[in-house]
């Protein structure tokens, strides 16, 4: 058990070192992230012109929402992107991985940890600390709320990871992944509440979004952070995240098992 963990730890360390070697890439990525933050900041500022609060959400809370949302997106963005997983399947590189004595989905997760740690420590954390100090938006007021936010954000991270890898593995069955990829990116940008929180959705669309796993990625942690989700609703939110994580993980495992069989059939 300890030995296995240590082995996966090596992947994390190596990927951290690789990220450090290509730090130019990490820092240019944060530049794009900040430009998007800038855009959404002014879009929301303009939307709130002449309005106190909309759907009982003030601009102050909304500013906090987009700040924490962009910060989380910056962290998520440091992981292996969908197209890279697809590329590995398409080129057959993934077959080499399967020969090795480790579990591929787990290894990818630990590899992502490395680049995320690097990106978080050298780019996201310092930058967003400064931004938060400058704008002083709504932040968690109690330690408990802060802790719950972190738990929720971590759950959100795992949900996104499972979904993204599952979508990547679909490449085993599809020669061309164009459509699948677009469904993924569209869902993750709209239904996750990454840029527009679910409060502002029309009721029917909000209902749709609430029945999808994507809301657990950004919407739930962000809402906890700005204090829009508290008490019983907060616990329900966290519970939904856990349920979705279990479901998404089960689907990932199922798809992975099927995909492994597929390789065996085609190999030889």
């Amino acid at each position: 058990m300890i030995g296995t963990l240590r082995m996966y730890g090596v992947f994390t360390r190596k990927s951290f070192q690789r990220a450090a070697a290509y730090r130019f890439d990490a820092w240019t990525r944060i530049l794009g992230n900040v430009m998007m933050l800038f855009m959404w900041g002014f879009v929301w500022y303009a939307l709130y012109q002449g309005k106190g609060s909309v759907e009982s959400v003030s601009f102050h809370s909304m500013l906090s929402y987009i700040l924490v949302s962009q910060a989380l997106q910056g962290i998520h963005g440091a992981g292996t992107p969908l197209w890279e997983i697809q590329e590995r399947v398409r080129t057959g590189d993934i077959a080499m991985e399967m020969l090795r004595p480790y579990d591929y989905p787990l290894r990818m997760l630990f590899t992502d940890f490395g680049s995320i740690f690097f990106h978080f420590l050298t780019a996201v954390l310092p930058l967003y600390t400064v931004i938060f100090l400058v704008f002083s938006p709504a932040v968690p007021t109690t330690l408990g709320q802060g802790m719950l936010f972190i738990i929720s954000a971590v759950l959100g991270y795992f949900i996104r990871y499972c979904i993204e890898l599952t979508f990547g593995l679909f490449t085993f069955w599809l020669v061309e992944t164009g459509g699948v990829e677009d469904i993924f990116y569209f869902s993750i940008s709209l239904f996750s509440g990454s840029v527009v929180p679910l409060w502002f959705f029309p009721d029917w669309l909000e209902q749709v979004a609430l029945y999808l796993p994507f809301q657990g990625i950004y919407f739930v942690p962000n809402s906890i952070f700005v204090g829009q989700l508290s008490g019983k609703a907060l616990l329900i939110g966290l519970f939904t995240q856990v349920v979705w994580l279990v479901v998404c993980y089960a689907i990932l495992r199922y798809v992975w098992a099927k995909a492994s069989m597929k390789i065996v059939i085609q190999g030889g």
Binding site: G32, M35, F42, L47, V54, E176, E181, L190, V196, F200
Partner: protein, 269 residues
Amino acid sequence: MQSWLRGIKMYFYMIGVSIRTQLQYRYAFVMNILGWAMTYAGTAITMWVLLYSFGAIEGWSFWELLFLFALSVLSWGVCVVLFFHFRTLDQFIIQGTFDRFLVRPIHPFFHFMAMKFDIGAFGQFLFSIVAVAMAYQRLGLHWNLWQWLVFLGAVIGGTLIQGGLLIAISAMAFWTTRSERFYWVVMWPAKSLMNYPLSIYPRMVQILVAFILPFAFVNYLPALLLLGKKSGIYPPYWGFFSILVGVLFFWLCFQLWMLGLNRYKSAGS
């Protein structure tokens, strides 16, 4: 003159080859087009959701905002067809494969441009033409001849401005051996800014996109004219000048590319 004619003939021959290559995979071809159309429709849906609770942004209703967005997607579509592969110039320089563009009897710029003719951009056309038509109808617009000319000018000017910027970004590869990164961290976010009315941004940014990287002439300024909107800062007739700004900016970017080309030293052995 004759060499120009020959160059143009060769360009069409080469893009013919590129189109036939892409048509080999029918399913991929269709999915590529639908995928692009869906991506833009997704952004439009996000805008609709945003304005559902808020009504308007700086006095722009959803349909006006959609028109603004679709206008930039339309010229971006033309730009993708002709120039989008310029962002990958760094790969050719790093791998040393750029050399082959220098030894052929055709201008290297032309040759590189002719390498690909991305028909996936029909997805952009599909989205933007449907969106512009819907906005045109919903807003009850009736353009006269000169407004149609402004519209056409915005598409041509927008193509030249965005294409020029892509070329300038690709030229960076001659100095830094990087270009694709610059596209994703500079041009893509800057382009996204223009999906919303320019007037929501601080004055510094407005000056930047009006005079230095003239994105304002791609959609915002022509849209003011075409939708009959008033903006305190910009004289309404500025929208006429998209084509002029486009030609000038494209020429400058082309000069930069040629400057880089002259400086280029092969990485290959």
